[in-house]
Amino acid sequence: MAAETVTYLEAIRQALWDEMEKDERVFMLGQDIGTYGGAFRVTAGFLDRFGPVRIVDTPISESAMIGCAIGAAMMGMLPVVEMQFIDFISCAFNQIINFAAPNHYRWGQKVPLVVRGPAGGNVHGSAYHSQNPESYFQHTPGLKILAPGTVADAYGLLRSAIRDPNPVLYFEHKYLYRRLKDELPAGDELVPIGKARLAREGRDLSVITYGAMLHVALEAAGRLEGDGIDLEVLDLRTLKPLDQEAILATVRKTSRVIVLTEEQITGSVAGEVAARIGQHAFEWLDGPVHRLCCPDTPVPYSPTLEEAYLPNVDKLVAKVRELSAY
């Protein structure tokens, strides 16, 4: 009998549910997560099951929510803070980069904290409901950053995040919430933090990506098969710490690389990946390392503008052809 398929959102919900069932130290802080069940319904039913002590509705105070979670984490609890949209994480920037991140380095006190929330565009959310803020945090020592692109990783990485003794930012892509469906892996195995996944093996060119762009890469790979171009697709999954070994391995194999991400291009995670390739695998390259990202503009609202802004299959296919001919 085939296993039941679940959405990416249901996988996130299931991970939270399972960890809360397993360990009473896990609790949640967020806006409208209780009675309402969260803006995207991730925590629907949680209040009934786990009660108001563990499902804590808060005022609109992102900084205090995350500060409060830091305090609770230091005391041995395992808080998960929901940002209603991940864009609002900037309101808590100080707590994350100055309190949580350097805490263990400064005085040896761990902060087992998870901040999670919907990231990404392509849903016409405009400037404040579409952001990909990972690169702001990529720069900060002490954080771990996850960006799952599959149902299995959405589930397995969130469970790993909750069990990790460090502050972890978990960026879920809202475009995938209900569009992506797959089976949850059987068994209790966790997805390790810090390990990329080879999503597709290929010979000719590597696309290094994560999140919703993973599916752009896979679709492009299918389309390019007919042209005799065999794409390899590496799904980073963990953005910090980067799996440098896996990055360099795929570069050595194909010698041509596109780093495909949904961030504004300057100062992006893609830039860091490209820099590492340039520094450590220069002699393996048969062409320039290309970053296919968003332009340096805020996220626009109108579908025609957002389409122009976001990378997509057509743009990737064109870039692959160009680089293959280099």
């Binding site: 830091i70 305090g71 005391m75 395992l78 707590q95 100055n98 005085w107 003794p165």
Partner: protein, 353 residues
């Protein structure tokens, strides 16, 4: 420049302060415990004097932040806590840390960036913590500790630890967003939390009149629906008694409180700062209210101690500090490779059954 319009008001150098009387607050603390309070305040000041010497000898590698004149606030508030309580001291709360069992050598080694300092040389001054002693390390961004300590209080309540979380903020720090967010969240969640606002007149060189339009920080408590109390911050007994009431209320489920401690910063923001911007009359007004000297007069006048008793306490601290300084000086500088260690906690977070 006339186009930019009229100034909206002069920079008032006047600092509003509490009326302080010579007489100290009523207490039921017995003689021995009052002498202990004295001892901690004296230790606070004498450690800072030693640190001042080390600073002038070039042994302190960073800034030095003293709390001269504010010892009663740090010591009196920390003294009201129970062993299970958790405190988040700020840079000017050395006295509170000493009450919680921090050794002078730890602070000295921190300032001198030594290998054996509590942070192994990774951080300086009083920026270290130890949850085994109920101490959370602050960060330099003021206000940030308030929501964190609210979270400590929340966790303590969930874990049934019957603890109270306490932290401090200065008059300048009350202008931050985290002051508002943190106090509001603590109030809404009703967690056992006490915030001591040290109103010492000056935030670096900025007088309180440029931080707020109100005279009393305690007024702000009303905005959060919590009790706000003004206390004479140079009376260690008043600070102790007010904190004790707030702590007891918090412990019995009464939620957070805000205590405004009216005091005065008798030095600059840090050792390099001569505080030339503070009108001399303000120092002159506050010098006779020195919290340690006032407490000495209280102890001597009330027959709780003789001159010799106090001298003996001071001599003991002096001898102790000789040892502490020697120990701290003898510690080596940290090995360079330590700079790269400890960014992440690498042990697994164990999962309870």
């Amino acid at each position: 420049m006339a186009k930019l319009g009229k100034d909206w008001g002069p920079l008032h150098p006047k600092v509003e302060t509490a009326e302080t009387t010579e007489k100290l607050a009523k207490t039921e603390l017995p003689r021995e415990r009052q002498l202990e309070l004295y001892s901690y305040m004296k230790l606070n000041r004498m450690v800072e004097e030693r640190l001042g010497n080390l600073y002038r000898q070039g042994k302190v590698v960073g800034g030095l932040y003293a709390s001269r004149g504010q010892e009663a606030t740090s010591v009196g508030s920390a003294y009201a806590l129970a062993p299970q309580d958790v405190m988040g001291p700020l840079i000017r709360n050395l006295g509170a840390m000493l009450v919680r069992g921090v050794k002078p050598r730890e602070v000295m080694m921190q300032y001198m960036a030594k290998s054996d300092s509590p942070t192994g040389g990774k951080d300086g001054n009083t920026h270290f913590g130890d949850l085994k002693r109920g101490l959370v390390a602050p960060i330099s961004m003021l206000g940030a500790v308030i929501p964190v300590m609210a979270g400590v209080a929340l966790a303590g309540r969930m874990q049934g630890k019957n603890l109270v979380a306490l932290t401090f903020i200065g008059d300048g720090g009350t202008s931050t967003g985290d002051f508002h967010e943190g106090l509001n969240l603590a109030a809404v969640l009703g967690v056992p939390f006490v915030l001591i606002a040290e109103h010492n007149g000056w935030a670096y060189s900025t007088p309180t009149s440029r931080q707020m339009k109100i005279k009393n920080i305690a007024t702000r408590a009303a905005a959060y629906g919590i009790p706000g109390e003004i206390v004479d911050g140079n009376d260690v007994l008043a600070v102790y008694e007010a904190t004790k009431r707030a702590v007891e209320r918090a412990r019995s489920g009464g939620g957070p409180s805000l205590i405004e401690s009216k005091t005065f910063r008798m030095k600059g923001h840090a050792e390099h700062d001569d505080a030339g911007y503070v009108p001399k009359e303000q120092f002159e007004e506050w010098r006779p209210k020195d919290p340690i000297e006032r407490f000495e007069r209280h102890l001597l006048g009330g027959g709780l101690a003789k001159e010799e008793d106090l001298k003996e306490i001071v001599a003991k601290i002096d001898a102790q500090l000789n040892e502490e300084v020697d120990f701290a000086l003898a510690s080596p500088m940290p090995p360079p490779e330590r700079a790269f260690e400890g960014v992440y906690e690498t042990s697994e977070t164990e999962v309870s059954a």
